[in-house]
């Protein structure tokens, strides 16, 4: 028997919960299913630290937020989407404040904002340095208020169900029983987050395996701009744990092995003394955008300026001058993480950091309403690519994006579902049966395989880091691509040890790896095809931005022969491409 709802949301993180609440608030008669492979509060929104951007102060304007975002994106963001985004951001943030998010405050009781990388004016709302955590819990707790929302926790959606060229639900594995259930609805919203786990060294949690992107890709939907992978410049070596950009927003500096602020050598401006009242200067030095800072690290490494550690080369993030009191008030989590996982107290010692895979700008191709090319399928959050992030996302835009486009996708999906209430239930149910059989045949009952999941995953990680890292070349990307094809073949020979139907995490790991291999190849092939350097995609063999040929979104489609790359134009409404300048 299928489960029937009006809308199915896959993923219970920030975007999914925002979408669910949007529907419950505006159309209380619609029933909403939130299908999530983890309990919603485990979703990786929880790990975001620094803050969420929205214009709220008198010294700021929507236009400035727009410009920062477009420049940050290296002109690859769609300007109509960004205009809508910056305009809607403040009301979404206020709404979240009304729902109880414990924003840090000014003495007068108004919300406080902090500077962030690539932002000309301070506009990043924050809840100390656990902003994502507080946002997610506020959304989750608020969502509990609405009875039309039904949660299917620890249900792993594995397939989008399409009939009559319309998305009409998902097949999901109930981890507790091992049964594949069909959850049917007039519209489906993918809110499954990013895919950082295709890389070895990432801030992303174990769950961020890009399942939603993978499902959409298999259903024939294009993945947009997959070559754009964001490296956050400050992760802890070894673990890859994120040290928030807010540490630099509050005035922290990056220094090389000689204590020198090396960013000044990489066209990021001239440093002011840390005692200068104007430090930190916005859009300059440590407050440059993430792509540029991570690239500067690599070049500094090649120059011999980094410090070698067991966890690879590092530089130092120095926040000592901020003082214990400010650190405890505004960056307590940074201190906790550095103490626990780097064994140092940043009040007294600089923090060792290196770039770490953090975010994927690309994702399921959607329009400004979150709609994909497949009728009935919507997407929002990191899993989607609207695109407001283009070739490089600015820190603190993604938490806001969850709210803005989660809400938008919720409304759009609700409307679509209301207008398309009839489903091909019998056929969909059969698809569910097929999916159950596929999982049984390819995994649970599979005999005789020899390849360990962990081995394939490790080799995928190595080749992604090797070929699709911060600096790329045709040769390296090609090698990666070939390696991924080989891994796909070897995946057919997977060794399965666990035959249980109850909470079989070997099965979920295998399903996740299955999705990741698809996505990794889409990343490599998209990167291979983009023969220019833009934002986070840096080709040493094509070091210049090439607007004549590549002011375009790439679209990766899954075909029998592999990946087909297509393009579509970037929407430019009011600011044609210029030189991308920081610090001067």
């Amino acid at each position: 028997m299928s489960l029937r709802h009006d809308i199915v949301i896959v993923g219970g993180g920030g975007a999914g919960l925002r979408a669910a609440i949007a529907i419950a608030e505006t159309n209380p008669s619609l029933s909403v299913a939130v299908v999530s492979k983890v309990y919603p509060m485990r979703s990786h929104t929880v790990a975001a630290e620094g803050g969420a951007a929205a214009v709220i102060k008198d010294n700021d304007s929507l236009d400035e937020h727009f410009k920062d975002t477009i420049g940050g994106s290296d002109w690859l963001a769609d300007q109509d989407a960004v205009e809508f985004f910056v305009k809607t951001a403040p009301e979404e943030m206020i709404q979240l404040e009304h729902w109880g998010c414990p924003w840090s405050r000014e003495p007068d009781g108004s919300v406080a904002v902090r500077p962030f990388g690539g932002m000309k004016i301070e506009r990043t709302w924050f809840a100390a340095d656990k902003t994502g955590f507080h946002m997610l819990h506020a959304l989750y707790q608020t969502s509990l208020k609405y009875s039309p929302i039904t949660s299917y926790n620890e249900w792993f959606a594995t397939k989008i169900l399409v009939e009559n060229n319309r998305c009409q639900g998902v097949a999901a594995l109930d981890l507790r029983t091992g049964k594949v259930e069909t959850v049917l609805a007039g519209a489906v919203i993918m809110c499954t987050g990013g895919a950082g786990k295709i890389f070895p060294f990432t801030t992303n949690g174990a769950i961020k395996t890009g399942d939603g992107m993978g499902m959409a890709y298999r259903a024939g939907v294009g993945l947009k701009d997959m070559e754009f992978i964001q490296y956050h410049p400050t992760g802890l070596p070894g673990t890859g744990i994120l040290i928030t950009e807010a540490a630099r927003g509050e005035g922290g500096i990056l220094i090389n092995k000689d204590g020198y602020r090396y960013l000044q050598d990489y066209d990021l401006g001239t440093p002011l003394e840390i005692t200068d009242p104007d430090h930190p200067v916005k859009k300059s030095m440590e407050l440059g955008p993430r792509d540029r800072l991570s690239q500067a690290f690599m070049r500094e490494r090649d120059k011999g300026g980094t410090i070698s550690t067991d966890g690879g080369p590092v530089v130092h993030l120095d926040i000592r001058h901020l003082g214990e009191k400010l650190i405890d008030k505004k960056l307590p989590f940074v201190r906790e993480l550095a103490k626990n996982y780097a064994g140092i107290d940043p009040v007294h010692t600089p923090i060792p950091v290196r770039p770490v895979v953090h975010y994927i700008m690309g994702g399921i191709d959607t329009d400004i309403n979150g709609a994909t090319q497949l009728p009935g399928l919507y997407a929002a959050g990191e899993t989607a690519c609207v695109s407001i992030n283009g070739a490089n996302r600015l820190g603190s835009n993604s938490l806001t994006e969850l709210l803005v486009f989660g809400g938008v996708a919720g409304h759009a999906a609700a409307e679509f579902a209301t207008n398309n209430p009839d489903l091909d239930e019998a056929a969909l149910e059969l698809q569910g049966v097929d999916e159950q059989q596929r999982i049984a045949r390819d995994f649970i009952n599979k005999q005789g395989g020899t390849e360990r999941i962990a081995t394939l995953r490790k080799e995928m990680h190595e080749t992604m880091e090797e070929g699709a890292g911060i600096y790329r070349t045709d040769a390296a990307l090609r090698t990666t691509s070939e390696k991924l094809v080989e891994l796909r073949e070897r995946f057919a020979n997977l060794l399965i040890e666990d035959r249980s139907l109850t909470f079989n995490t070997e099965l979920t790991s295998a399903l996740e790896l299955d999705f990741m291999l698809d996505l990794a190849l889409a990343v490599a092939e998209s990167g291979l095809a983009r023969t220019e350097s833009r934002g986070s995609h840096q080709r040493t063999d094509y070091p210049e931005r090439d607007d004549a040929n590549f002011l375009k979104h790439s679209l990766a489609f899954k075909t029998i022969d592999g990946v087909r790359i297509d393009y579509k134009d970037v929407v430019i409404t009011k600011w044609p491409p210029e030189e991308r300048v920081y610090g001067r």
């Binding site: 309990y39 485990r42 109880g100 405050r105 819990h137 070894g238 993480l337 109850t502």
Partner: protein, 250 residues
Amino acid sequence: MAKTIELEIFRYRPEEESEPTLQSYEVPFNEEWVVLDAINYIKDEIDGTISHRWSCRMGVCGSCGMMINRVPRLTCAAFLKEYYPRKIRVEPLDGFPVERDLVTDMDMFVSKLTDVSPWIIRNEGEEKPVEEGTYLQSPGELAEYKQYSMCINCMLCYAACPVFALDTNFLGPAAIALGQRYNMDSRDQGRDQRQEVIASHDGVWHCTFVGECSAVCPKDVDPAGAIQRAKLSSTADYFKDLLMPWGKRK
């Protein structure tokens, strides 16, 4: 020879066994590793059939709480070196039914969270429209409830609570702390509504103040404190109603 450490893992596979067992694994001892790393090593390299929950491995998602040598801890924050060379026994969190291996059934916990109405409640007609902007909340008002808003729902406090272990009807530390978090939020007007649950027998009055919930809390939420404060204010309510029945709250 490289150093190793022994992990004794609680195993329960409902399709295969009616009673749990303990299974031993020898893993490399790495100074940098947390217990979660060792469990992942076992799953990846030795025995793919172990099931456990984890995600962020930075102490904020709340997934990986387990009993380590009988003490509830986040396995991503418990280093092997704290135990070496002793062996480490890993079990699912006490007090909860075991679905499989190290995975507990946490639905009961989620329904307790829901019971305290953990959202901002405003009096009818006093909701602030978005167009009117944010509520003002001073840093001092924020500080009143901030600590209780830090709960990551890791459930260690329940696993440490003997009252909950003996009677799972107890609303429990995290849920009560969450109720208090909203009660003390200057934007909220829902305390009276929550009192029915919080000030009930299965609520605060079930707590005997063992205090271990606060001792094991990885985020210093201090649920024990939240509960005692709720007891105090409930008692104050009682006497107020008794002495001033004309001012009786709704």
